[in-house]
Symmetry: C2
Subunit: 341 residues, 2 copies
DNA sequence: TTGTACGCGTTATCAC
DNA sequence: GTGATAACGCGTACAA
């Protein structure tokens, strides 16, 4: 019942060639005569040969593996990103070994070790627990996406521009007061740019504004509770004023929209809302939510492309060490929908 | 700059032992004296040894790889499932090679070939393009999840029970008319059971009911358009009657809820809604939606467990061929929320 | 308890 | 164009 694998040796015996020639058939077919190519092709079919890439990797060192570390699947943002990353297989041919970090630094270290044991050629990191300095020390091509990236190559959304876009839209909606509601965060992580964009535009147009930074927890229920408090707070603090709300992401925006909509049975003129990400929930909500769209497909593609470039460099006889880090920025796209004019 | 890899040979030379002893240190440490173990451990650190699992695989045949084929990331159901599958790494130690099929049969065949080339020990299939007969012919341990499974092992939600639960809940809500809105589908796929459950309960209690089967497209916008038509249809056909709506999944349920809520500014008594899956959108909607919860974590765990059992059987000296197919059913859990009483 | 010799399936380096 | 032969890094009889 055990199917014994057909190897180059079997093909060689069957055709009368040597192993070497069989190998050449795959890696440099032009070096064989056409008729011999056909002989071998025939034998492959007859014996039902199945290639063994692991043996190939051991011999030539190219695993064609890329490791991926995702923090979690909360928010839909990461699953969409993973989806886009996986889909680059068609373009680049690299296979992905995926781990979910669950915000556990020790786990993630273990995963990286495992990935290295499988001889991944490069690593894409979306989780944020391990500092980029440590990541860089692994001495393997790395690209991070939307996280602290001081010592590694990265691809990020131009968060500052996103903040500017969202804030400008609310400004054009003639709001009396602009509020940006976000998590407390370090200035080093890319999304801090959203806060900068917000404050800069408010200052530029001398707009009344408030920055509400808080901890919104790690689950939908926690987040909802926190945002309810925020809602009560702004309702009492700014009654009868047209409030422009710029939320940290579409999930938060949706929660806020739901709170308001359930109270009024609609979105009253008193509120304007802009989210961030263009997640599915932004369109699936009770009203399609205006949002700053991250071009996730482009981000994913750019990340893999950048990684592949580095990996290819390493394969050269005399690889040039990277002179300086590359931080690519992807332009966000403002999506005007029904929560703004 | 190229870091030459440290191998067992290096460790052996460094410690004065043979390669074999080093190998044994990893695979059967008890066969060494404690002090020799420490010597080797010391050397490993000094030389900064990094294991090479690919070489190990080539030598012993155990790749510890499981292939996964997902149809897409639409609906959130599959990303949640993938998340749960990936998280079984902590339990079983298997690594996952993931491909997204995108409903393309030829692509999926190509992916399977690639997976086989990497010597996966087993395969988990969630996509439905390739018939189970063909899957079985690959002669490798396979478990499918929620798809046609005539010739392969599988794990499915007990869809019939789910249909019964949803319908019974609507029945208890004293609806005048019960409607089940679903896609047209073959009787062979597991979720057909939901339809059976619905019709059986309706018959059992002699309930007025209608089964609306249609094609709801492949994108949110298409689905929304189709459901708008359905909404108009039932509104006109059953005015002033309390309508109990059992939707195919939570995304559909959410769309329907939004249509109604936007018209009335609330969910009127005239409508009761039950979804299926317990996707994030069920709780994130304008009203938390009552739904039949699939125990995705349990399904994923069961699938991997079942697969691991088969893989272990194959590793035995004299593997017993599987006598008969295993089809596990996971009980769904009814979630009563705010779209029913 | 430890070592020798060979095998895993492929690629790379020489020869011819 | 084609073929020996030696890697690649580790596991595993079989010996000692």
């Amino acid at each position: 019942m055990k199917q014994k694998k057909v190897t180059f040796d079997d093909i060689a015996r069957h055709t009368g060639f040597s192993k070497t020639t069989i190998s050449r058939y795959f890696n440099n077919p032009d070096s064989l005569t056409v008729e011999n190519q056909e002989k071998i092709a025939q034998a492959l079919k007859e014996l039902n040969y199945q290639e063994n890439k692991l043996a190939k990797v051991l011999a030539n060192g190219k695993s064609e593996f890329i490791g991926v570390i995702i923090p979690n699947f909360y928010l839909g943002y990461f699953s969409e990103m993973l989806n886009c990353i996986l889909n680059t297989y068609e373009q680049f041919g690299y296979k992905f070994l995926v781990f979910v970090g669950n915000d556990n630094k020790e786990s993630e270290r273990k995963y990286i070790k495992e990935l290295l044991a499988y001889k991944i050629e490069g690593l894409i990191v979306l989780s944020h627990t391990i500092p980029s300095r440590e990541l860089a020390s692994y001495n393997i091509p790395i690209v991070t996406i939307e996280r602290e990236d001081q010592f590694v190559n990265s691809v990020n959304t131009n968060n500052y521009m996103g903040g500017v876009q969202a804030t400008s839209l609310l400004y054009k909606n003639n709001c009396d007061i602009l509020l940006h509601i976000n998590s407390v965060m370090s200035e080093e992580i890319p999304s801090y740019g959203r806060i900068m964009g917000f404050t800069d535009i408010c200052r530029e147009h001398d707009l009344k504004n408030e920055l509400i930074l808080a901890d919104f927890g790690n689950s939908y229920q926690e987040t909802k509770q926190c945002l309810e408090n925020v809602y009560q707070y702004i309702k009492e603090k700014y009654p009868h004023q047209k409030k422009g709300l710029f939320l940290a992401n579409d999930t938060h925006a949706s929660i806020m929209l739901n709170l308001i909509f359930r109270e009024y049975g609609k979105l009253p003129d008193e509120y304007r809302i802009v989210g961030f990400d263009d997640s599915p929930i932004a369109t699936e909500s009770i009203l399609p939510i205006s949002t700053v769209g991250q071009q996730i497909d482009l981000i994913a593609y750019t990340a893999v492309e950048l990684l592949v470039a580095q990996m290819n460099e390493r394969k050269k006889r005399r690889p040039e060490p990277q002179k300086e880090l590359i931080h690519k920025e992807i332009t966000p796209v403002l999506m005007r929908r029904e929560t703004t004019d």
